[in-house]
């Protein structure tokens, strides 16, 4: 069902009705006070906390960076010990990449997207809150480790065998692996939220050719997260199994291979740099048109660049491994793709330049940071093209030249645009602008400081200074470069400090600026900082720059003349629209304020932290609490049967409140999550075959799981899947008893499948610590069985929903989503047990 959208706003309601509407909206969207403030799930609060936390982590990492620079200022320095130095640079890189660069964009996206898309909320506000709390806890855990002299100390990419050596790396490596895995979960949660939000929750009329470019970029970035983070999670699992239980995945003596970690890390790591870079460019794609006072030139070209970069960035990872002795042809493929990615990157820069040339540029502080950042980024891009050439990289690899390259791209491509964004969007917080004067001074300090600090590193690197050395002798000709770098670093830090001062200085006396202070054409500035409802009414959009082109838009929105001007149900509501043309199809009730997200995040954090210290009982207790919290969250907050089937959303349109299957946002969320999950699984299977390629006999003469048990497991899972299909169809035909029976049978079959899945490796007494083959077999089997167990919980959940009348033929979202899960489950089971049982025979 979908409604035709009336183009003109509805007639204005009389003032007393409007006041009553506003009263109701305010009540529904209110943020609690006192300690309960922290239970808020509103996108503006979550976005703000997320951003503030990421920024604070960044400042902390910055201090560590300064420590590193002080130590290197002069030769033979003894400012800090070698070990503390190792912890400092490892934590510096780790925090900057995982706790600042990625989360800050999630923060900005959660904060801005609803208003930019002209809507009230993202579809899963509680998921955002859950992500934030996970991130905050994981971040504090990782950062705090250095105060106990227990920080990771093997570099931000944790190469084995150094990082698997317990003597050397201590508990730091576990903190890295578990703390960051936890944060990766949060990132994937954010990706789900953003993809569904951008595709399904735009304002009516905002067709994909009218979508703000920021949303285009974020859509691509969220998709990249889905394919980039899971390989790292798979790698983390292998790594942690090696550290905790001595399974030899990366131990060459027992058939393992450290290179597998490098592959998994960089399949994540290179896309990661674009996951960081694209959102920053997305901010520029909003800022540049505003200050050129004209639409962007080449909208489609930006879409080309965003999508193109998103894809190509997955073909580059081996350029971090040029020196590892891979076949030259392989190196050449990656070198070629690394050069190709310069094309879309260049396109974006030319689009910005063209837009500025075509308009009349106002050189405000955000533009200053934006343009300065781009200039820096271009230098980094040029050195990137250089190191993407294999012979050059063999010279530059692991020297300060790389350090210079990566800081030019990261600071120019991400930090400067983020600061531009802070100056640009700050008025959204409390209606005040940051200081122009301080901003300009800060910019020049940062710009000159940065170049002073990092340009000389190119020369230090070319003169052979390796990265990650804690000191160096005086007579090799590196001392002056290092001294200059350290001075530059402090100038740069002074600039950052000035930005911080500008943000936190009291602004009580400063007068408010106009609501749309820069005269932007897109919708971010239409909300008022005093109201929590986002937009007063959800507008109908028919332009890329609606504020410029649609007459009286802002007045009509505030007068409540568009959709959802009221909340009669007393619940938080937003619209769901179609993917291509944004026709409204559903009125979605989203979750409100709740502690359950905090409980779930903290207990899940407990699982990871307890694992670090091998507190097994605490781990189990926390896992049980997490499961309980999530089930409670789903049971009380999702697939609720509405009081009536269709609902007045204003403008004379009525829409359904409940949707299931591909029409529902929940189905999409499940689908997207499972794509991410499937990617992690594919990475494990990649590992299995990787070991096959590097050995003549990859079993190393050890017994496999046999054929019988894997085939039993495979068959049982396939039948269980069939039972789920039957259950869904019976439910659709309104046969609740039979549905329940089918669900029960499916659960029993799955239980059998899980047992049979483990029986194979068990029966043949495969010892995972002896050799890598038994270890990888166990990992694949356990992965599959754990997914089977989750599948059983879902089956029982549906059973309970059906028994309590919460799931019926008409209201069948739960079973649709669970069957979707089972589609993925059956693919996993067939692949796993097929490979484990049969591949040893056919190889």
């Amino acid at each position: 069902m979908s409604a035709n959208v009336p183009l003109a706003p509805a007639p204005e309601a009389p003032p007393e009705i409007r006041a009553a509407q506003e009263e109701r909206l305010r009540k529904v969207w209110t943020t609690p006070s006192g300690w309960r403030y922290w239970t808020s799930v509103n996108n503006t609060e979550i976005g703000l906390w997320y951003g503030a936390a990421a920024f604070i982590f960044m400042l902390f990492a910055g201090l560590l960076g300064l420590m590193v620079r002080v130590q290197l200022a002069v030769p033979e320095n003894t400012f800090i010990s070698a070990d503390l130095f190792n912890q400092a640079f490892t934590l510096h890189g780790t925090i900057m990449m995982f706790l600042f660069a990625v989360p800050i964009f999630e923060a900005v996206a959660i904060y801005l997207l609803p208003s930019m898309l002209g809507t009230r909320e993202l579809p899963f506000p509680r998921l955002s809150a859950f992500g934030f709390w996970s991130f905050a806890l994981g971040g504090v855990f990782v950062c705090g480790s250095i105060f106990f002299n227990a920080a990771p100390n093997t570099g931000w990419f944790m190469y084995p065998p150094l990082a698997t050596d317990k003597e050397y790396s201590g508990i730091g490596a576990d903190i890295w692996l578990l703390g960051l895995s936890f944060i990766e979960v949060a990132s994937i949660a954010a990706a789900v939220e953003l993809i569904v939000g951008i595709m399904k929750c735009r304002a009516p009329g905002m067709r994909i050719n009218l979508m703000p470019l920021f949303a285009w970029y974020l859509l691509i970035v969220a998709g990249m997260i889905l394919f980039a983070f899971p390989p790292l999670i798979a790698g983390d699992i292998l790594f942690e199994m090696e550290r905790m239980f001595d399974w030899p995945f990366f131990d060459a003596a027992r058939g393992g291979d450290p290179l597998l970690w490098q592959h998994l890390f960089w399949i994540f790591g290179h896309p990661e740099v674009y996951i960081i870079f694209l959102p920053a460019i997305a901010i520029m794609a909003m800022v540049v048109p505003t200050f050129s006072q004209r639409p962007i030139v080449g909208y489609s070209w930006i879409v080309l660049a965003a999508v193109g970069t998103g894809f190509l960035s997955f073909g580059l990872w081996v350029h971090h491994m040029f020196a590892t002795g891979l076949p030259q042809m392989s190196l050449a493929f990656f070198s070629a793709a690394s050069e190709a990615v310069a094309i879309p990157t260049g396109v974006q820069i030319f689009v910005f330049i063209a837009t500025m040339l075509a308009g009349r540029v106002i050189f405000s502080v955000p533009m200053l940071f934006g343009a300065g950042g781009l200039a820096i980024f271009i230098i980094g891009g040029l050195t990137g093209v250089m190191v993407a050439l294999v012979p050059f990289d063999w010279q530059a690899h692991d020297t300060y030249f790389i350090v210079a390259h990566l800081h030019y791209v990261l600071i120019g491509g991400m930090l400067f645009p983020v600061v531009a964004g802070i100056y640009y969007y700050y008025p959204l917080l409390d209606g005040k602008k940051l200081s122009d004067r301080l901003g300009k001074i800060a910019f020049w300090l940062m710009f000159t400081g940065f170049n002073t600090a990092f340009f000389p590193m190119h020369f230090a690197g070319l003169r052979g200074m390796p990265r990650r050395v804690f000191t160096y002798p005086a007579d090799v000709g590196w001392d002056w470069f290092n001294m200059i770098s350290t001075i530059g670093a402090f100038i740069f830090a002074a600039g950052v400090g000035l930005v911080v001062i500008d943000v936190v200085r009291p602004k009580k006396k400063q007068p408010r600026c106009p609501e749309n202070p820069w005269n932007a054409g897109t919708l971010e500035f239409i909300g008022s900082p005093d109201e929590k409802w986002g937009v007063r009414s959800v507008p109908v959009i028919h332009s890329r720059y609606p504020v410029w082109d649609q007459k009286d838009l802002v007045e009509n929105i505030s007068a409540g003349r568009y959709f959802l001007p009221d909340s009669q149900s007393g619940q938080r509501e937003t619209l769901v629209t179609t993917v291509l043309d944004a026709r409204p199809v559903q009125c979605l009730r989203v979750g409100g304020t709740s502690v359950v997200t905090i409980v779930a995040a903290l207990s899940l954090g407990g699982v990871f932290i307890a694992l670090t210290f091998h507190w097994w009982l605490v781990t189990i207790a926390c896992a049980v609490i997490t499961l309980g919290a999530i089930l409670y969250w789903l049971w009380t907050g999702t697939a609720t049967i509405p009081e009536s089937d269709d609902y007045d959303v204003g403008m004379g349109v009525r829409l359904p409140v409940y949707a299931s299957g591909p029409d529902s946002v929940g189905w999409w969320a499940m689908f997207i999550t499972m794509v991410g999950d499937g990617t992690a699984y594919a990475s494990l299977i990649f590992g299995y075959f990787f070991y096959w390629t590097i050995h003549d006999d990859f079993t190393g003469g050890h017994a496999g799981p046999g054929v019988f048990w894997p085939m039993v497991a495979l068959t049982l899972f396939v039948i269980a899947w069939g039972a789920m299909l039957a259950a869904r169809s019976l439910n659709a035909h309104d046969r609740p008893r039979l549905t329940q029976a089918a669900l029960g049978v499916a659960a029993l079959l799955s239980l059998g499948g899980c047992a049979a899945g483990l029986a194979g490796p068990f029966a043949y007494e495969m010892d995972p610590t002896l050799y890598v083959y038994p270890a990888i077999v166990w990992v694949v089997a356990i992965w599959t069985v754990v997914h089977g167990a989750v599948g059983i919980i879902m089956q029982l959940y549906c059973l309970a929903r059906s028994l309590t009348g919460r799931m019926t033929a008409r209201y069948d979202m739960d079973i649709d989503n669970v069957v979707l899960y089972w589609h993925f489950m059956v693919i996993t089971a067939v692949t796993s047990f097929g490979v484990l049982g049969l591949f040893p025979l056919v190889r």
Partner: protein, 125 residues
């Protein structure tokens, strides 16, 4: 090519880049496995280069087809961008144009990745 119906979906945008990704993956995996297992295989490096060359031609053909469909969706360029009207027609033209651009990029990128096939004649020299 009337026989290919126009499909109304978001996903066609990604056709050409996906072909690029598959082509890249096939080339990478083929070489990696070949070079790891060369002892066990009765195939020369030369043959593998030709095979990958054939796959490259196929990939390019699919990309050209996707480009042609996109060109058609764009109305063969009868109207120029920006395609920013709030109509279904302009939305389609926008999709067509963006897909066409992506096909171009993917075509060039496949060629980039093919260059090593011409110049490198052994696993390790």
């Amino acid at each position: 090519m009337r026989w290919i119906k126009e499909i109304e979906t978001f996903w066609t945008l990604f056709t050409a880049p996906t072909v690029w990704a598959l082509h890249f993956l096939v080339c990478y995996v083929a070489v990696a496995v070949y070079c790891a297992k060369q002892g066990a295989l009765a195939m020369s490096f030369e043959t593998m280069r030709w095979l990958l060359g054939g796959i490259t031609v196929a990939a390019l053909a699919v990309i050209v087809l996707s480009a042609w469909l996109a060109w058609r969706q764009w109305g063969f360029g009868t109207e120029v961008p920006p395609h920013d009207a709030p109509t279904q027609d302009d939305r389609r033209k926008f999709q067509g144009f963006a897909t066409l651009l992506l096909s171009g990029l993917s075509f060039v990128s496949v060629l980039y990745v093919t260059v090593p096939l011409f110049f490198i004649g052994a696993c390790q020299s």
